[in-house]
């Protein structure tokens, strides 16, 4: 165990997997000489050289497609999207039209083992084009897996699992967490996909939250338990595709009440699917309608007060818990 930044945990995962398998290489804008726009790849160029740590031109469609081709021909590319906002300029076509479908439409002949990873969510005062959570877009697509780590340990453990996996994986990191410190296991640490993390046990309300916003939920829970005496269970799905409904169903059978929190927009957000799944699998256990806390359905404003009002907050989560418990 060591107390390190989220970004370092990600870097460790890449480093260990590159050392383990020389088919693994890292490619993206500023990943090499600049050590990464967010310093995730710090030191990797020095250690592995320019053959395996590669700066690309600003051509998201081009280099993501190159990743797909390299994966089809036996390599294991890690493609960095500096932020997921930039995936829309054609990279999303390489991911959805090619990476996600090649295995199926070739009748099983061509695997596409690659990880496309980068920063998601609101970075803070970056305004509308740079503050988006696109997990709903990718979680909808057959042929992909989607992971969103909320801690350093999960960042490392899920990324190592992702790199060893043989499918195309959408790995969405939290821009706001890169600088946060977490206890992270040294060396081999793998977190399987499809295993939700019961972050904290509780008896009255189940709160489901992924990525950065899970920590906001945890902060809210502290207040709720001390001030409202409502016991909350906090569950982080960690991967959105595949999704661990069982762990959640177990919790709901106990609490009968659910709050779902996400950083993305409310309308058609992943929270809608999570809610629909809970209603479907736990209908008789539910004593109240599920309450969702998500980003307001507006483009992100630059002004920090307005930005804060758009995002889920401790206050909003407390209000949601009160609502779901009719307090």
């Amino acid at each position: 165990m060591a107390l390190i930044e989220y970004r370092e945990a990600l870097g460790q995962a890449i480093d260990e997997e590159m050392a383990r398998d020389d088919r693994v290489f890292l490619m993206g804008e500023e990943v090499a000489e600049y050590n990464g726009a967010y310093k995730v790849s710090k030191g990797l160029l020095a250690k592995y050289g320019p053959k395996r740590v590669i700066d690309t031109p600003i051509s998201e469609c081009g280099f993501t497609g190159i990743g797909v081709g390299a994966a089809m021909h036996g390599l294991k590319p890690i493609v960095e999207m500096m932020t997921w906002n930039f995936a829309l300029v054609g990279a999303i076509d390489q991911i959805i039209s090619n990476a996600a479908k090649t295995l199926y439409m070739s009748g099983g002949q061509f695997k596409c083992p690659m990880v496309i990873r980068g920063a998601g969510g609101a970075g803070g005062k970056l305004a509308s084009q740079h503050s988006q959570s696109f997990e709903a877009l990718f979680t909808h697509i057959p042929g992909l897996k989607v992971a969103m780590p909320a801690t350093g340990a999960d960042a490392k453990g899920l990324l190592k699992t992702a790199i060893r996996d043989e499918d195309p994986i959408i790995f969405i990191e939290s821009e706001a967490l890169y600088g946060k410190k977490f206890e992270v296991p040294d060396g081999e640490h793998l977190v399987p996909f499809g295993l939700a993390d019961v972050v904290k046990e509780g008896s009255d309300v189940t709160i489901i939250a992924h990525s950065r916003i899970r920590h906001t939920a945890a902060a809210a829970i502290e207040q709720i338990e001390s001030e409202l005496k409502i016991s909350c269970e906090l569950i982080d799905p960690r991967t959105l595709r595949p999704f661990d409904i069982e762990t959640i169903a177990k919790s709901v059978a106990k609490t009968h009440r659910v709050v779902i929190v996400e950083e993305g927009w409310h309308w058609c957000g992943v929270g809608a699917q999570i809610a629909e799944s809970v209603y479907t699998y736990c209908f008789d256990d539910l004593d109240a309608p599920i309450v969702r806390v998500a980003a307001l359905d507006v483009p992100m404003p630059y002004n920090p007060k307005l930005e804060a009002a758009v995002l889920p907050s401790v206050e909003k989560i407390i209000a949601a818990v009160k609502k779901v418990t009719y307090k």
Binding site: G65, P77, S97, S106, G107
Partner: protein
Amino acid sequence: MPTAIAAKPRKNDVMATVEKNNSVESVDLLLHLYKEMMRIRRFEEQAFQQYQKSAIGGFCHLYIGQEAVCVGAISCLEKGDKVLTGYRDHGHALAMGMSADSLMGELFAKATGCSKGKGGSMHFFDNALGMMGGNGIVGSHIPVATGVAFAQKYKNEKKVTLGFYGDGAAQQGAIHEAMNIAGLWRLPIIFVLENNKYGMGTSVNRSSATKELFKRAESYNFPGIECDGMDVLEVRKCFSHAIARARFENTPCLIEVKTYRYRGHSMSDPANYRTASEVEEKKKEDPILMLKSILIEHGVKDEKLVAIDEAADLEAKASVEHSIAAPEPELAELTRDVMANPWAPNLLPRVEL
């Protein structure tokens, strides 16, 4: 330094080289090219007929008229080299050595198809033979082809990749990005622009600001070549040089092959955007007839050519019989190969049949 070689058809040189080493082998080679073009022509004719009988569904884009391009180019490849193309992929698949049975089976959506009946006309793949698709999104496969070349270089294979696309596709940004990276990183890829003068109903002069597409290579610091795609020997000439340069010097190349498609864009296209006489004119340059006359000049007996034609026709027709008799994929195919590492059935999303 970028160089743009406008290689006008040089019948004479080509003949010269053929003369020069007019060994049995080189005539064999010409016969091989003839056979491959004939296989494609006859296969497409069968595909056309079977589509009319609606034994084949979806889109079906025929390659008739363009045979010399993929046959000439692919005849320059060696084992381990790779090919990617668009949705007009029947010719490339056959030229890469895929059997008519596996292709017709795919068109018939049968389990015997190269993609188990799940891909169809636009998605022909054969891993063992280096055929990497068969892609439906215009231009989208060219970055992928560039990535295959990247992997070939990464693994030090001394192999090359051919990425085929059309004059319409040339206007896609994805191709610009791929070419810039290929030029910057020096990847062993040949960008093969099959200029058949139309993208669906849009003539290239209404889709491209420049008439000399091959010169765009200058923007990416590698050679651009213009090539007569109705003359399979000219095609071989252009590609053998470019492929050697890619293989041994990691120099990418853009080859604009001037060709022509006789049929409509797809089966539903009446092709009103061009005159019948334009098509007839082009048919006078038919690549198969052109090669035939050269073979005759070299003393090849007509019966021999007729036999090749009959064999090709037989192969195509047999593939129809074979595919009619072949089994449908079982329902379980529906959920197979969605993921290489599928998740446990207790996880969502879950597909129940």
